[in-house]
């Protein structure tokens, strides 16, 4: 275990001798896809609740397809499927984009998490108190202002727990990135395994790293939630912090 750590601590954390690797790459995948997916999901969520059936159905089709198929399959389609089309290979920009494992992985993860976040946020938008919206109208706020100052803040605050759930699930999903030759934590663990045959130790280190990342993310999100929902009434906290972590993880992705 310790000799393994001695040789592989650097690749596991940030650098494998050629490029960034390990925790740094995993975090980059996570942060990029969460931020871009979140930014895309907001207009899509508004479109999902649109009065016009065509718009809301087309967004619904997007989310159904991306939530109904495995992320691994989506990554395969992005990485090996699209690149096998001849017109993609002929175009220089598309060619270089889809030949790069990292950009394909980022694309697949972003679209996937965007679909989940879109459905979550669309649900939260529907749940915003109708009285608040009516009050905003009565105050003469424009549609844009109502969204900007009333609806979005309320919906965002309401869905912080779901977002934190989604981010931790995405962290767990980033493990498949190694199939597209991205050097994340699991890729380093596999390299260590095939070089030393210390299977249990190599994957065990990866498991511990992921466990630690999950706990840290969970803690940060809790702080964040406390900060932004301080004005809302909350049930008295009687459980220890650890046991809230248990109950927090009891829902995987809600469909």
């Amino acid at each position: 275990m310790f000799e393994l750590l001695e040789t592989y601590w650097k690749p596991f954390l940030y650098f494998d001798g050629y490029s960034y690797s390990g925790v740094a790459v995993t975090l980059w995948l996570l942060i990029f896809s969460v931020i871009v997916g979140f930014a895309l999901s907001i207009p899509l969520a508004v479109a999902r609740n649109s009065k016009y059936k065509l718009i809301s159905w087309s967004v619904g089709l997007f989310t159904t397809v991306f939530r109904g198929t495995p992320l691994y399959l989506q990554l395969l389609i992005c990485y090996s499927g699209i690149y096998s089309l001849t017109f993609v290979q002929d175009q220089p920009f598309l060619n270089s984009f889809f030949r790069n494992g990292m950009s394909c992985t980022l694309l697949a993860f972003t679209l996937n998490t965007c679909a989940y976040m879109c459905e979550m946020f669309a649900g939260a938008l529907k749940n915003v108190n109708a009285g608040e919206i009516e009050a905003a109208k009565a105050f003469g706020m424009s549609r844009f202002k109502t969204y900007r100052y009333i609806i979005f803040p309320a919906a965002l605050k309401q869905s912080i727990p779901q977002y934190s759930n989604e981010v931790i699930i995405l962290l767990h999903s980033t493990t498949i990135a190694f199939t597209a030759t991205v050097p994340d934590i699991l890729k380093i663990a596999r390299d260590a395994n095939s070089a030393t045959y210390m299977t249990f130790q190599s994957f065990g280190i990866a498991a511990i790293l992921y466990l630690m990342l999950s706990f840290i993310l969970f803690y940060l999100f809790r702080r964040f939630e406390r900060y932004y929902t301080a004005h809302l009434p909350r049930p008295p906290v009687t459980k220890s912090r650890l046991s809230t972590y248990f109950s927090f993880l009891n829902k995987k992705r809600t469909q």
Binding site: T64, V65, G68, T69, P70, L71, Y72, L73, Q74, L76, I77, S80, G81, I82, S84, L85, L171, H172, S173, T174, T175, I176, T179, L186, A189, R190, N193, T199, F200, F203, G204, A206, A207, Y210, L211, S214, F215, Y245, F246, S247, L249, N250, K251, K252, R253, T254, Q255
Partner: protein, 239 residues
């Protein structure tokens, strides 16, 4: 005419790979159903352990569910598949037994069940807690044994309360089965990847797999709606 017929046949059979894909689909369906059933058993057991009064049982169950849910499923799969294979190999060598090979299918079923059992245990524990204590006491008062009271009083209600959670985890399991092809099982994903590689139409075959997964998850949604109807018998529903 003959030519047209063979063309139509090859279109239906996807250039000769249709039956391969069907086999892969059947493998995926088998894998998901078996691991779902096994995970339910593990989940009920762990939930009962968690609600028991014995401290060590409680701690074991809590440790199991926390560790499993904090670690990604793929890492666990690799850990269990390769790690357990190693241990079994060493054990058989030490005992002088012939080598036992754990095939990817049973490894997949065991791993998925082990992982999602932890998720189910939380669902079931929540459901167990929402059954009023008085009902169990009433069952005891009527002279029902512990097993009978679980079978006839607790279990049906537990199923009803946990059905939404079950359907969520089931959807996750369907998608997790795709990962087993990384371990080397000949499931739907590896079937379409092979077919795509040999016909040079990777994109087309991957899209077919996506369609099959979509249909599968939609069909299971319908099945869960029917199940919900079954377990809701005798419950007044508010409109």
């Amino acid at each position: 005419m003959q030519d047209l017929f063979s063309k139509a046949l090859s279109l239906v059979d996807l250039g000769g790979y249709g039956h391969l894909i069907l086999q892969g689909t059947w493998m995926t369906v088998k894998l998901s159903l078996l691991s779902f059933a096994l995970a339910m058993i593990i989940g009920v057991g762990t939930a009962l352990m968690k609600s028991s009064r014995s401290m060590p049982l409680n701690a074991c169950a809590t440790l199991y569910t926390t560790l499993i849910r904090g670690v990604p499923d793929l890492v666990l799969m690799l850990l269990i598949f390769y790690g357990v294979q190693n241990w079994v190999g060493q054990l058989t060598v030490a005992l002088g037994l012939p080598f036992i090979y754990i095939d990817p299918f049973s490894a997949g079923v065991i791993t998925l069940a082990f992982i999602y059992g932890a998720y189910f245990s939380e669902t079931f524990r929540g459901a167990l807690q929402s059954i009023p204590e008085g009902q169990k006491e009433a069952a005891t008062a009527y002279g029902l044994s512990k097993g009978q009271s679980f079978r006839y009083v607790v279990f049906p209600q537990m199923m009803r309360f946990s059905l939404p959670g079950l359907s969520n985890v089931w959807q996750v399991i369907i998608k997790a089965t795709a990962l087993i092809s990384i371990i080397g099982l000949d499931d739907l994903i590896s079937a379409v990847v092979n077919a795509g590689k040999s016909t040079n139409q990777v994109f087309f075959f991957l899209i077919i797999a996506a369609g099959i997964f979509l249909i599968y998850s939609m069909l299971s949604n319908i099945a869960f709606a029917l199940l919900k109807k079954h377990f809701q018998i005798g419950v007044k529903e508010a409109n």
